[in-house]
């Protein structure tokens, strides 16, 4: 991978830098073990399943299933205009790995364990993250 216009500076080297560079460029890519075939997240230098060092980046489908959820109920405070509910999910990606994320456009009460979701990359340049939306609503 080389530097891109959105990402000045030297090309990313380590696994974390490479993952973040893909996300910064709008892509959810995962490492895949060339020996045991496992898809891997969080990014690592070796496969946590077979301990091989032969990992290559590959596009993920972006599809997954909500494994669990939690909802922080904030006590409203003066001057704090954040939503009073903050839902976080763990999504099991179809490729295998699990990832923490949010469904920012879905009310917390509508986020169900077992629901199908699809990833998107969102956020400002320099602070992009992997978020999810319900997959049902897009069919």
């Amino acid at each position: 991978m080389t530097a891109s216009p959105d990402r000045p500076g030297p090309p990313p080297t380590g696994p974390d830098q490479q993952f973040q560079a893909h996300v910064a460029d709008g892509r959810l890519w995962l490492q895949t073990c060339q020996d045991c075939g496992s898809a891997i997240f969080m990014p690592r230098i070796l496969c946590p399943h077979c301990h091989s060092l032969s990992l290559q980046w590959a596009p993920a489908s972006g599809l997954g299933t909500v494994y669990t959820r939690s909802v922080l109920h904030r006590r409203p405070k003066p001057g704090d205009d954040r939503p009073t509910e903050h839902a976080i999910v763990l999504v099991d990606l179809d490729e295998g790995p699990r990832i923490m994320s949010r469904l920012p456009d879905t009310p917390a009460a509508d986020i169900r364990i077992g629901m199908r979701v699809r990833a998107r990359i969102a956020g400002e340049d320099g602070a992009r993250v992997v978020l999810f939306d319900p997959e049902e609503s897009k069919t």
């Binding site: 974390d16 969080m42 959820r69 109920h73 976080i88 763990l90 949010r102 364990i113």
Partner: protein, 383 residues
């Protein structure tokens, strides 16, 4: 081969200090008071201590700072930090060091003043990089996620979770040292403020100041000391992940392995345990650990705790001091499982004493269901 640590060491002194609120004192101050209390209890002095086991979240080098503060020069030092489970794991490490002759008197200690100091649970300095952007609230988010998954997968209810809080409070009402001793009803728990769905305020442990210390030595010396020894019968640890998002199955903890290892070493099983001390940072923890440690099948923990089964007068006494939910919780709780187990085995637990307690299982949980440590203690009759 795995039986070599059974009976290799015993707890001969326990002490606490600064439980609840200790305004004006720091963590090292109240830790030192707990250490003095534990050594006085054993009939030993700080000059006898030549092995130190210590962990905390306030110091980068907890064992070294403790050595300096106490004015000791131990020849064996173990600062392994696995979170709140550390001290239960230290019991096995201490037994190993004592058996190997690396030390003769092992001191395990902890102190924290998060309540009067920071006024909040101080999270670890380093947190999982891929979780932080989503603004989880550690450690609670992780336990809420485990509870939500357990509820969805097994039909566990908020009433089941509340049973754990009610049992803890009922035990605390029998413990004069407990921080929360007021009456608590099912309705109180269910209607308390929702903090991190599905966990309410009453599903969460206390945040107190507090310190605890445990002194261990070999059986030959233990028999000549002031107190009835609580023998180390077996221990085990297990860990697979740091981050909750890396945990393979949020409804099955590594306690399954730490418990199996402890039972194997002790040559005992769940049916042989008279009393349990399970680290209850949140109500869901007790349900998970009862299942993973073999007291009921996976998924049936909610039904198991129902009807006051783990409360005073129930079938299985769990967290007889009132636990982290109602007794004390100064950030890391593991050491208090060892202290209460020892008091139960000595028969000095007062109104909460379990008659003829011969075996106690202590279970420590670290970080966000990240590390599990089990230790089984027993009376002389169990050797």
């Amino acid at each position: 081969m795995s039986n070599t640590l059974k009976g290799a060491a015993a707890i001969v002194g326990v002490g606490t200090a600064g439980l609840g609120e200790a305004p004006g004192f720091n963590a090292m101050d109240i830790q030192a008071l707990a250490v003095r209390a534990a050594l006085d209890d054993a009939g030993l002095s700080l000059a006898d201590v030549d092995g130190l086991f210590c962990a905390n979240m306030s110091h980068t080098f907890p064992a070294i700072s403790t050595i300096e503060y106490l004015g000791i020069a131990p020849r064996w030092i173990d600062g392994t930090n696995t979170g709140g489970s550390s001290f239960v794991a230290h019991a096995m490490s201490a037994a190993m060091a004592l058996q190997a002759g690396l030390c003769d008197v092992a001191l395990i200690c902890y102190g924290a003043t998060m309540r009067t100091g920071a006024g909040r649970m101080v999270p670890a300095a380093e947190q999982p990089a891929y979780e932080i952007p989503h603004q989880p609230r550690y450690p609670m988010t992780a336990y809420a996620m485990a509870a939500a998954r357990h509820m969805a997968q097994f039909g566990t209810t908020r009433e089941h979770l509340a049973e754990v809080a009610l049992a803890a409070r009922a035990w605390a009402q029998l413990n004069p040292d407990a921080f929360e001793r007021g009456d608590l009803t099912m309705e109180d728990v269910l209607s308390s403020r929702m903090v991190l769905e599905p966990l309410t305020l009453r599903d969460c442990c206390l945040l107190t100041d507090g310190a605890g210390a445990v002194v261990m030595t070999r059986p030959d010396r233990a028999r000549d000391l002031a107190q009835k020894p609580a023998y180390f019968l077996g221990g085990g640890v297990a860990s697979y992940n740091r981050a909750i998002s890396e945990m393979p199955d949020l409804t099955t903890t590594a306690a399954k392995d730490s418990g199996a290892r402890a039972y194997a070493m002790a040559g005992l099983g769940p049916a042989d345990m008279n009393v349990l001390q399970l680290y209850d940072a949140f109500t869901i923890n007790v349900i998970l650990f009862l299942e993973d440690l073999g007291f009921c099948p996976k998924g049936e923990g909610g039904a198991f705790v129902s009807g006051g089964h783990i409360a005073p007068g129930g079938g299985l006494p769990v967290n007889t001091n009132g636990g982290g939910l109602s007794f004390t919780h100064p950030g890391m709780y593991g050491i208090f499982t060892l202290i209460e187990a020892t008091r139960q085995l000595r028969g000095e637990a007062g109104a909460r004493q379990i008659p003829d307690a011969e075996t106690v299982l202590c279970h420590g949980n670290g970080i966000t269901l990240s590390h599990q440590a089990t230790a089984i203690l027993g009376s002389e009759n169990t050797l």
